[in-house]
């Protein structure tokens, strides 16, 4: 007896099955952060692998385990999947021990990603704190690669100190780019050589003039404190709750809405998120 559900059983397509991918390059970023470039072994699959900015994938270190990592590369650049990872525990430790050319498992992409169709034609304000830059980077490059579809593109990025800045090599260019308003800041600058702003990320709001809350989408990603202060600021600027987008982090085991670890109220972070509007989040208790 099969259920009322119309279920298409396709034994060859087990959604839990990681596909093999190879680490093609490893670029150290900040301390305990590295950028991994991965390519699926199956070239056709690699070309067809299609993501939306803000989606994530489940990365398996063979013999150790699996964990969700945001895809940092934009969908506009096919063939390579980039992931910026912080070393925090079992799986990420093992990943950091792997040399280039090692085989890993990858499945995805999962999650809703940013509602880019809605965002097009609007101003885009991205606010990142620390590792929050990882998912936002895919949105950033999506916007820059499709520059004509957006009006203003603004990026505010803050880290604890200069050495924690991720994608450093890109920022030197980004900051000078004419089609992007890019501001970076550090909480503290022990080196004294930091050429840019010092202060928390909200202090960068002063550098952005004439934000129009009615035509701007704000995408925030960072640790809980960032959400708290940035959202306060945006609300003061009269942003509607539906135009504030946040990316939530949860424990995840399956990534596809089964294991229930990422559920918040009636939402699954993996299926319905990780991108939620602030309005969603208010209605999801425990969300931040």
């Amino acid at each position: 007896m099969l259920s009322k559900q119309t279920v298409k059983l396709d034994p060859a397509n087990n959604p839990y099955k990681p596909r093999l991918a190879r680490i093609v390059s490893i670029k150290p970023q900040a301390p305990d952060h590295k950028l991994f470039q991965l390519r699926f072994e199956d070239r056709d699959y690699a070309e067809s692998f299609c993501t939306r900015p803000g989606q994530f994938a489940e990365l398996s270190i063979i013999g150790v385990g699996e964990c969700p990592i945001s895809i940092s590369s934009p969908p506009t650049r096919k063939g390579i999947v980039e992931m910026c990872v912080r070393r925090t525990g079992r799986v990420t430790n093992a990943l950091f021990d792997l040399p280039t050319n090692s085989m890993v498992g990858l499945r995805g992409p999962y999650g809703n990603g940013y509602p880019v169709e809605d965002m097009e034609g609007n101003d885009l304000l991205m606010i990142a704190g620390g590792l929050g830059m990882a998912p936002l980077r895919s949105l950033l490059w999506y916007a820059l690669d499709n520059r004509a579809r957006f009006n203003r593109v603004i990026l505010l990025y803050g880290t604890r100190s200069p050495e924690d800045l991720l994608f450093r090599e890109e920022f030197d260019d980004l900051i000078t780019r004419a089609d992007l308003e890019c501001h970076v800041t550090v909480d503290k600058d022990p080196t004294g050589n930091w050429p840019y702003n010092v202060g928390v990320v909200t202090s960068l709001f002063d550098k952005v003039d004439n934000l129009n809350p009615d035509t701007t989408y704000a995408a925030i990603c960072g640790p809980p404190v960032v959400y708290k202060f940035v959202i306060d600021q945006l609300l003061k600027l009269n942003f509607s709750k539906g135009r504030i987008l946040m990316s939530l982090e949860r424990m995840m085991k399956c990534g596809i809405g089964k294991c229930l670890h990422c559920s918040i109220g009636h939402k699954y972070t993996c299926l319905d998120g990780p991108i939620f509007t602030y309005w969603d989040a208010i209605n999801l208790r425990e969300s931040i």
Partner: protein, 344 residues
Amino acid sequence: MKSLRMAKRHLPKFLESLGKWGKVYVPVKLGKNSYRWEEFDGEVDNIALDALRTVIPAKKFFYKPREVMFEYDKTNGYTQACAECEEDVILFGIHSCGIHSLETLDNIFAGKYVDNYYFTRRKNITIVGTSCMPDKHCFCKSMGADTVDEGYDIFLTDLGDDFLIGVGSSKGDDIVNDNPDIYEEVDESTTKRYLEFRNKRDESFELVLDTSDLPTILDFQYDNPLWDELGERCLACGSCSMVCPTCYCYNVDDTINLDSETGERWREWDCCLFRDHALVAGGHNFRENQGGRLKHRYLHKQQAYLGDFGRTACVGCGRCIVACPANIDYVECLKAMRGEMTSA
């Protein structure tokens, strides 16, 4: 739907013929007051026909407490492992609430990403339901799970000397046709006896939970201190979730062999009352205290799942009430949230 009658003395023959469709599992008694499904040993007397709730519900047939998802090796990656998924099984003695619970699990394991393990078994397992008489912990009626019209291959209703045989699928029909001698047509008295049975059963429910507006009420009661009081008592032992026919969350881990090359990826039933259920790297716990975890379980069943699939993720089997060492009572708690006086 096709209905037939079978005299009870034919039960051995009936079970014997079921054997042709796969391994037959029947409820048997263990200990003083507990039951579990075990492979039929050929002795009809060993079947506990009166078993209301087995310790572990039918979900174990479709979704194992611990199962290997993949075997892997470091060169070739992951290979799906689930040979026994393909085994043909006849599940005899599941009740109406159990059949409903399978539907709640179907909803989760289907969808955009189909869980192969679950549905391969689902396809290969034949459901032979039996009727039951509720006890003081059953509240399936309140959860709308006290009767079934579909979801089974065959359903046996106890009418005294006879079983009413409901044939619910083409496979069920094959089973019946295989052994025509033991069945008779329904007759005059069947309707009467059936209604008598139904009425008696309806009247036996002692436990009733009013579910009207419950999701909304639970919203209002979000900060009720009772959650934390219950949290203080909860041992996080996991019993309630393990025995719940609709609890489905799981954990995944990888084990490696001594050769450092090969190993297995497992999944294992998990429970949202465990401390590490919402714990993320760096030690942040999204549900820091036990009261919050308990609330999450209840809200998930009565609010979240309901919102997604239009029915609650509880079928009223009463297992969690029976299995809680701390006497935390699901129904009492929800009644208290409604403001009905109880001793929860």
